[in-house]
């Protein structure tokens, strides 16, 4: 693969293990079908009602307000005139699109009495959304879902994830404004390389579990070489590598592990239940010095749905639309399967998982 370069090449993304990059790329390229329909009560008189639906395959890691210009552009040609605003009246417009879709999947399962036919593929039902042209006086939304509000919400989630991982927000707030803007622009432009060039400065790395096994191209242990300063990477890395904002603990483990997925305080994870509250709690990467698995995590937080053996689980977990195996490590999920805001969103579906 083109991005599985060795550590001597410049740029942090090329120092990421190939498997990590692969999963991040898969998450980045994941899409879901959306069906956007204009509220028929609001269609201008005389418009062709047959053209009121717009279908789009939307990136999971993106946000609805970012899609609006594209939707409006297409619908404008057919139905709307320039003056109509176009507002998506969902309460959760600030959720990533993938989360909206998965949440809809699990909520739909709650009410469905007909199980999927055996042998059918994962549901590919589009998520149906209604676009409103007019903002009525009794608009219950606190904020118009503009790209600016969305960016603000995104930055807030990024900061929260940073805080959860390290107990401070120095990595995110230490980025220059152009990097903050760069993250958002690369989301808008859907550019994986641009995004990860900046994100790899703040997202955890997937270094090995053992803190003494830091790989070093010279073949020597990092403890034998001069102690790295907070801002430098291991001594013989390319000088073109971007540096990370300083870590809070200069006497901590070697730099290569300081940002490791297994040294975080807590993995940023939220659990979404159909018709239920959003659950969030501390998720340590290790439990009793062993990797914290998804199975353990679910048994701890939802003991009735995920009882200990010999009982069978009464539910399943979806992460980025994929039914996640119980052996998946929470730390790894945090580094590889998180959304663009750093959060691992686990949607719990009741009953058997869709095939």
């Amino acid at each position: 693969m083109s991005y599985a370069n060795g550590p001597m090449r410049g740029g942090a993304p090329s120092q990421t293990p190939a498997a990590t990059s692969l999963f991040r790329r898969l998450v980045w390229e994941g899409t879901v079908p959306l069906e956007i329909k204009i509220d028929s009560k609001e269609l201008p008189a005389g418009s062709d009602r047959g053209l009121e639906c717009y279908y789009i395959q939307a990136p999971r890691i993106s946000y609805l307000p970012l899609l609006l210009p594209d939707i409006k552009k297409h619908l404008t040609d057919l139905v709307l005139d320039e003056t109509n605003a176009g507002i998506l009246k969902e309460d959760d417009w600030h959720w990533p699109i993938g989360l909206l879709y998965d949440y809809n999947t699990i909520s739909h399962g709650l009410h469905s009495t007909i199980p999927p036919l055996p042998g059918t593929s994962t549901p590919t039902q589009p998520l149906r959304l209604t676009l409103h042209l007019v903002s009525p006086p009794l608009d219950k939304l606190l904020l118009t879902p503009s790209p600016e509000s969305c960016k603000l919400s995104y930055m807030g989630q990024l900061k929260e994830a940073d805080f959860l991982r390290w107990g401070n927000t120095k990595r995110v707030t230490g980025l220059r404004k152009q990097d903050h803007d760069g993250l958002w622009e690369s989301l808008k432009n859907h550019n994986f390389d641009d995004f990860w060039r900046i994100a790899s400065k703040i997202f955890p790395t997937t270094t090995p579990l053992s803190p003494n096994a830091s790989p070093n191209p010279n073949g020597t242990s990092t403890f034998a070489s001069p102690p790295p300063t907070a801002l430098s990477l291991p001594p013989n890395s390319s000088t073109l590598s971007p540096s990370r904002p300083p870590s809070t603990d200069p006497s901590g483990p070697p730099v290569a592990d300081r940002d490791g997925a297994y040294t975080v305080r807590s993995v940023p994870v939220r659990i979404y239940l159909p018709d239920g509250p959003v659950l969030q709690d501390l998720v340590p990467p290790l439990v009793d010095e062993r990797a914290h698995t998804l199975r353990q995590f679910l048994r701890t937080h939802l003991p009735l749905l995920f009882p200990p053996p010999p009982s069978q689980p009464q539910a399943y977990a979806l992460v980025q639309g994929v039914v996640c195996p119980g052996d998946a490590e929470m730390a790894w999920l945090g580094a590889c399967m998180a959304g663009a805001d750093g959060w691992v969103n686990v949607c719990i579906g009741l009953g058997r998982p869709p095939r």
Binding site: L142, T169, T173, Q280
Partner: protein, 240 residues
């Protein structure tokens, strides 16, 4: 032992329940003279997930935004005419009764209580952020926080941090003190207020009050929450 600068979920739940019981009995310490801050709170928990709890109260108040207040009471005819032409600048041209739902809910991320609220007028329409900013509710902190229209973004930023953000510095540069968020238990959209340095301020106050005598008892936890209210009421007016 010294008082903690954060609270666990269980500690918050204990503190909140004790706080409500105390205020109902009228035994709240230190805040007796400002009982409107502690009045009317009820302790709620989620029907199925009983460890998810929060405090709630409802407040009805009349919004008299400061600059409109000055306009309203002008005696000079000329100024009155001028103020009519200035009406386009006034976000709320007349007295408006609003209902504020106030919540204190625990933030799993920051391990601290957060202040969440919504503000609606009589027809159920949410009050715009610019109006909230200009209301008496934020009177105390307006010198320190920038109005949303000058930042061009739908949030309220600490003015000092906002300037620093242009230089790319400051711990909270570009992150607001008030922005939209989801209620941690109800999931509904609210305004969320994260005053800067809350933890540090609480710690300082409690170090003065209890020193090394912190035991983590329910009484201590209630006192922690009362201190949190004190810190919050120094930036927003909870008497309303």
């Amino acid at each position: 032992m010294k008082a903690p600068s954060v609270l666990s979920r269980d500690e918050f739940n204990l503190a909140a329940e004790g706080f409500v019981r105390g205020s109902q009995r009228g035994t709240t310490r230190e805040l007796d003279l400002r009982s409107t801050i502690t009045d009317g709170w009820s302790w709620k928990k989620h029907s199925s997930f009983t460890h998810l709890c929060y405090l709630h109260r409802s407040r009805r108040t009349a919004l008299v935004p400061e600059h409109d207040k000055e306009t309203e009471y002008q005696d000079d005819m000329e100024d009155q005419i001028q103020s009519e032409f200035d009406a386009s600048e006034a976000v709320v041209p007349e007295l408006r009764v609003v209902t504020m739902q106030q919540y204190v809910a625990w933030s799993a991320t920051y391990q601290l209580p957060g202040f969440y609220f919504t503000m609606h007028d009589a027809s159920g329409t949410p009050v715009p952020l610019e109006t909230i900013y200009r209301s008496a509710f934020f009177q105390k902190s307006r010198s320190m926080i920038a109005p949303p229209e000058t930042t061009g973004i739908p949030a309220i930023f600490d003015r000092t941090q906002r300037d620093q953000s242009r230089l790319g510095g400051g711990d909270n540069a570009q992150f607001p003190v008030l922005a939209q968020g989801d209620h941690p238990v109800l999931g509904t959209p609210c305004w969320v207020f994260h005053p800067c340095e809350t933890s540090a301020a609480i710690r300082e106050i409690l170090d003065e009050l209890v020193g090394d005598g912190w035991t983590g008892s329910e009484g201590d936890l209630v006192r922690w929450l009362e201190t949190w209210f004190m810190v919050l009421s120094s930036v927003v007016d909870l008497r309303l």
